[in-house]
Symmetry: C2
Subunit: 154 residues, 2 copies
């Protein structure tokens, strides 16, 4: 699928980043992204320090950033399967002002819970940092499932 075998940015091989890319491509019904490399697709998730400085501190999130936020947590949910054999389902509730909450649940267990703020500034400095952030959430969530498998199955 991707042709950027040379010059790959660091982090592109992280399992979480692979899951995120698959999820994004799964929604590309019209094939508009077929010509874009994985690294290129992920650039929307990247907000460098300079870019962040230019984003107003207070702002309403646009539909694109909400879509990316949903994909990010959905990717955590499906990547949990790689580690534990179980998928976690996301539930997200956002105010139009960019304040909200996201849950990932697996059976009767809340494997991830986060308050969301400043969602209009959502992004990561590099693809590597995006991967690290996702991998950490997956590992934390998997830890809850491993210690409470009965509830994850309930």
């Amino acid at each position: 699928m991707s042709t950027d075998l040379l010059d790959k940015p660091a982090g592109l091989a992280s399992p979480f980043v692979r899951a995120l890319v698959r999820l994004m491509r799964a929604e590309d019904s019209y094939g508009t992204w077929e010509g874009r490399t994985d690294a290129d697709l992920l650039t929307d998730f990247i907000v460098t320090k300079e870019q962040r400085r230019e984003i107003p501190i207070i702002g309403d999130p646009d539909p694109d950033v909400l879509w990316r936020l949903e994909k990010f947590y959905a990717a955590v949910g499906i990547d949990i399967e790689r580690v534990t054999g179980r998928i976690a389902s996301p539930m997200m509730k956002m105010s139009h002002e960019g304040f909200g909450r996201v849950l990932l649940t697996c059976g009767r267990l809340v494997v991830l819970t986060r308050t969301l703020r400043d969602v209009h500034r959502f992004g990561f400095e590099t693809i590597e940092k995006l991967g690290e952030a996702g991998d950490k959430l997956v590992a934390d969530a998997a830890g809850w499932i491993e210690t409470h498998p009965d509830l994850a199955d309930a």
Copy 2:
């Protein structure tokens, strides 16, 4: 607050129904419901067999029925406190077609999870049945908290 001490419909004294009424009145910022009795407020939750027969099988839920659905599960969440000392927070995700999911969580524990369907037909035959339905959900949820207090506190 309520003046309908005589002729009270059955079920009006159920703890869950009391919680639901309090929650509804808490949102009555303009005092438009001050003149309505509790029983009268709850009539919106009542769908008799005859009324149900007249509702199309397929239909989009209107904002009022979505509001009542949210209040119903929020009342379950706060009434759980009466039994366990802990409040459960609701998360609801609905499609515009009336299909969705509701979760109540307490700490790391999912104390209620339900798939929602045919939401445009949401309602109960009598106030008594409304109370019974709520009381049962509260009891089930409380059971999860009582068997997993560590997760409910996590």
